[in-house]
């Protein structure tokens, strides 16, 4: 039939008509980039190892996709983890994983870049490699295989997945990829081998090539030494940092998907880093120093992106948007520009005060939205331990203003299992929640209460210590501890006067234990990841596909004791698997913070006083503000 178009797709019509959401695999999205393969020198495939709707919502890939495609000699494409239905078909029919734009096999590309955002996607990395028909272990890869390079927050402890990657890019991607591609092209011209390229790549700042380093262990299983195999390879790898956020790559034409994605909106990144220094928070250390994007630049980006995407929503992104110095100016601009264009603004979690409540009431239906507080701990004592600078007074004052403004839903986020937590601290969660409910009944007269009620939702997650935080020395709670803490919390809530207004949710404990092993694991953990994948596990961040028993079996088979990585007490002078990397924040500073935590001492935030974390060595950002 002549009207039917003949379109080149990697999957047959039979497959596309059979699987869920074929739109995940057909490419052709607005703003996706198609280049002439014969006119580029480097083919780069960027992967987010989770399902399309999650991966497409990630800003980092959009930034790098835009950057790579601005390079004339490079064509950057995207690939996501095929959902279980297609995964099965691809294995049965031996269909190699393909990039969305060209629909050509990933294994034919020069690079496969994988962003690693959370530990629970590690088995999906193996799924992607496997479907791409690329050997799972770096050492088994031949000259024709793409260079598999990892990036993202989890690469700050890359050791549990080091065997699966040829190299890692540590830090912000905008700075060194040009240099890396130049080197790659040069090596190709000179006919150098994969190993020779990787050796040279390992000397570029920010690049970590696991095969260039040896690890030795003490008898007790801790690390004895981590040493480069060659003299020209650095002992310590410093993360890469963008010096000027207002003068770098930003995706003014992000790819617009057809299906509804998790983030179906424009994302405007207003700053990187966080001044707060909460001791449990990894992101707060990794992205130091705080750097703001110029407000005029942001205004221009916002308008440009609205024109180029047609999205009906825009949201601001940063670790702590309330700390952005020009937030009122930016929001005023957006309120006006967005109402003209009928674009909604979704606000990130702002500190609840008169200003944020005013803005919120302008962009949201007060009756339908809830206030969010993240006190993280139930008592002031424990909040001092974790250095969370939010007081009960802040919360009660914020709630009072909000209740008077018409809000009647509150969400509270806490963590259970912080170091030095006592039963008193857990009871504090219940008491604080009760206090908020009481405040509502105090300040809102009966006739003004919508449905006569206040709804408080308390959620607790279990604390998992992460590398490059003050708590990297802390023993993690066992599964049994976690569960008894959650029960204690639930009981404490039911004992409150206003318990009927409080709903309590808590997270899965098994997952938190596993996350702990992967977060602070070393190279030996890789065997268990490989084993559990071979037993059939992936998409483990989806609870229906998570099988804890398989992990227990795999740990057993590989001779790995999860407790060694999670709940063991670490000495102050232990060498950690990630110590050869640096995020700029010194280990000595983190240790000082760990000791201050034990004493419940608060450390001022970066805008109040410099605590000498080491972030100033990058020479930019808040460290030099006003100097």
């Amino acid at each position: 039939m002549k009207e039917f178009w003949n379109t080149k797709l990697a999957l047959s019509d039979d497959i596309l008509m059979k699987i869920e959401k074929p739109e995940r695999y057909i490419g052709h999205e607005v703003n996706s980039v198609v280049k002439d393969a014969d006119k580029v020198r480097v083919r780069f495939c960027m992967c987010f190892p989770d399902v399309y709707e999650i991966g497409m919502s990630h800003l980092g890939i959009q930034i790098l996709y835009d950057m790579f495609n601005k390079f004339e000699d490079c064509w950057c494409e995207r690939v996501y983890a095929p959902w279980v239905d297609l995964d099965k078909i691809m294995r049965e029919q031996n269909i190699p994983l393909f990039a969305l734009e060209s629909q050509e096999p990933v294994k034919n590309m020069d690079f496969l870049g994988i962003t690693i955002q959370y530990e629970m996607c590690y088995t999906n990395i193996l799924q992607v490699l496997d479907l791409a028909q690329i050997p799972l272990l770096s050492k088994d890869r031949g000259e024709d295989c793409p260079i598999v390079i990892g990036g993202g927050p989890c690469t700050y402890n890359p050791e549990p997945i080091a065997d699966f990657f040829d190299m890692f890019y540590i830090g912000e991607g905008e700075t060194r990829y040009r240099e890396l591609l130049d080197l790659y092209e040069k090596c190709k011209d000179e006919g150098l081998s994969r190993a020779e390229f990787l050796h040279k790549a390992g000397t570029i700042p920010g690049m970590y090539v696991p095969s260039l380093y040896d690890v030795t262990y003490n008898e007790d299983g801790t690390i004895k030494a981590f040493t480069p195999k060659y003299d020209d390879v650095p002992k310590e790898i410093m993360k890469e940092v963008v010096k000027d956020l207002s003068d770098t790559y930003y995706p003014m034409k992000p790819v617009v998907p057809y299906i509804k994605c998790t983030q179906d909106r424009i994302v405007l990144e207003i700053m990187r880093g966080c001044i707060r220094g909460c001791r449990f928070c990894q992101a707060g250390e990794l992205y130091r120093p705080v750097r703001e994007r110029d407000v005029e630049v942001l205004k221009r980006y916002a308008v440009e992106m609205m024109k180029n995407t047609g999205h009906e929503e825009i949201s601001l992104s940063s670790l702590s948007s309330s700390d952005y110095s020009k937030l009122p100016e930016l929001l005023d601009f957006l309120l006006e520009e967005c109402s003209k264009r009928h674009v909604n603004i979704t606000l990130p979690s702002l500190r609840i005060d008169a200003f944020s409540l005013d803005v919120m009431s302008k962009v949201q239906d007060v009756k339908k939205t809830s206030l969010t507080f993240a006190p993280e701990a139930g008592t002031q004592r424990l909040r001092n331990v974790i250095n969370k600078g939010l007081t009960q007074e802040d919360i009660i004052n914020g709630s009072t203003e909000a209740f008077l403004g018409g809000w009647n839903k509150v969400k509270l986020y806490f963590m259970l299992g912080h170091p030095f937590e006592t039963e008193e601290d857990i009871r504090g969660i219940a008491e604080l929640s009760n206090e908020i409910a009481a405040t509502f009944f105090d300040v809102v007269p009966k006739e003004k209460r919508v449905n006569g009620k206040i709804q408080i939702t308390v959620s607790t997650s279990f604390f998992v210590p992460k590398p490059f935080t003050a708590f990297q020395w802390a023993p993690q709670c066992t599964k049994e501890d976690f569960i008894s803490k959650a029960y204690f919390c639930r009981t404490a809530i039911t004992e409150q006067l206003n318990q009927k207004s409080i709903k309590y949710n808590w997270h899965d404990a098994d997952l938190s234990v596993l996350e702990g092993v992967l977060a602070r694991g070393d190279r030996r953990v890789a065997a268990a990841i490989l084993s559990v994948y071979k037993k059939g596990s992936f998409f483990e961040s989806w609870t229906e596909y998570y099988d804890h028993n398989r992990w227990l079996e795999s740990f057993e088979e590989c001779g790995i004791d999860p407790w060694f990585y999670t709940s063991r007490t670490r000495n102050d002078d232990e060498i950690f698997p990630w110590d050869f990397l640096s995020c700029g924040v010194n280990k000595a500073f983190l240790l000082r913070e760990w000791h201050r935590a034990q004493k419940g001492e608060v450390t001022p935030n970066c805008s109040q006083q410099c605590s000498g974390c080491g972030g100033a060595q990058f020479g930019v950002g808040i460290c030099f503000a006003g100097k």
Partner: protein, 254 residues
């Protein structure tokens, strides 16, 4: 509604009908996603669409009969309400510049004030249907090689007293006689495919695949899985004399 005219307090708006195509890889995009796609197209096109009020304003558009996934078309319709007047050609160009090659506006008409909206006024749809290579049902293999045999088979099929389609709805399966609602069913010799005009009115829509299933069943055969290539050529409404006319024939070019 949109802004009001100060003189008589009547809302002032301008309705347009857009005929558009859906081809190639985008035949796998579902109807809801096509609607979402056009919301974004209209924003990118920066045209003066009317919006509803409230915290989440949405554009005032209506779509004609949804197209099944896997079907290609040159006869899709969408009505758009505008706050201000725009030339049909300009609207078409703006949409096409903001869209992709697989989905393009083919024509734009300004609708008269009291025309029914795209969804409510649909009466019929015209299809071309062919079998994918090697997927012909056994019972048709010998028939399809000879046009006159196909025509005879269609004639006998249509000469039945009733043609019963089992529709599965919310209240369970129910039998409906669709004989009077197959407005045309014939063989296109030149393109070697079936040609059909079927009722597509709201609640009475007959899918092209359903017709082919009945036809094959009548010949004591069965359709093979995913064996049809279906192309929607156009969608029809009725004029004041109850004749089928293309939805494109309503309205004028301004």
């Amino acid at each position: 509604m949109s802004e009001t005219n100060n003189n008589n307090n009547k809302p002032v708006y301008y309705d347009y009908r857009v005929r558009f195509s859906k081809h190639g890889a985008l035949r796998y995009i579902g109807h809801l996603d096509v609607m979402r796609f056009f919301q974004k197209v209209l924003r990118r096109a920066e045209v003066d669409v009317a919006y509803t009020n409230g915290y989440s304003p949405h554009q005032i558009t209506t779509f004609a009969q949804p197209l099944s996934v896997g079907v290609e078309s040159d006869g899709e319709y969408m009505d758009i309400r505008m706050n201000s007047e725009i030339g049909c050609e300009e609207l078409k160009n703006r949409i096409n510049n903001a869209s992709v090659p697989e989905i393009q506006a083919l024509s734009v008409k300004r609708l008269p004030e009291k025309s029914g909206n795209a969804m409510a006024s649909v009466a019929a749809a015209e299809y071309k249907i062919a079998f994918k290579e090697g997927r012909e049902p056994e019972c048709l293999k010998d028939v399809l090689v000879d046009s006159s045999k196909v025509e005879d088979a269609i004639k006998t099929f249509l000469s039945q007293d009733s043609i019963i389609l089992v529709k599965v709805g919310k209240a369970g399966p129910r039998e409906v006689d669709i004989k009077e609602r197959i407005f045309e069913f014939s063989w296109d010799e030149e393109d070697a495919c079936f040609h059909a005009i079927l009722d597509a009115s709201s609640g009475y829509n007959i899918k092209a695949s359903a017709l082919m299933e009945l036809f094959t069943g009548f010949l004591k055969g069965e359709l093979k899985e995913n064996s049809l290539m279906i192309y929607r050529k156009d969608t029809y409404t009725r004029d004041e004399n109850d004749n089928l006319i293309s939805m494109d024939e309503v309205g004028t070019i301004v």
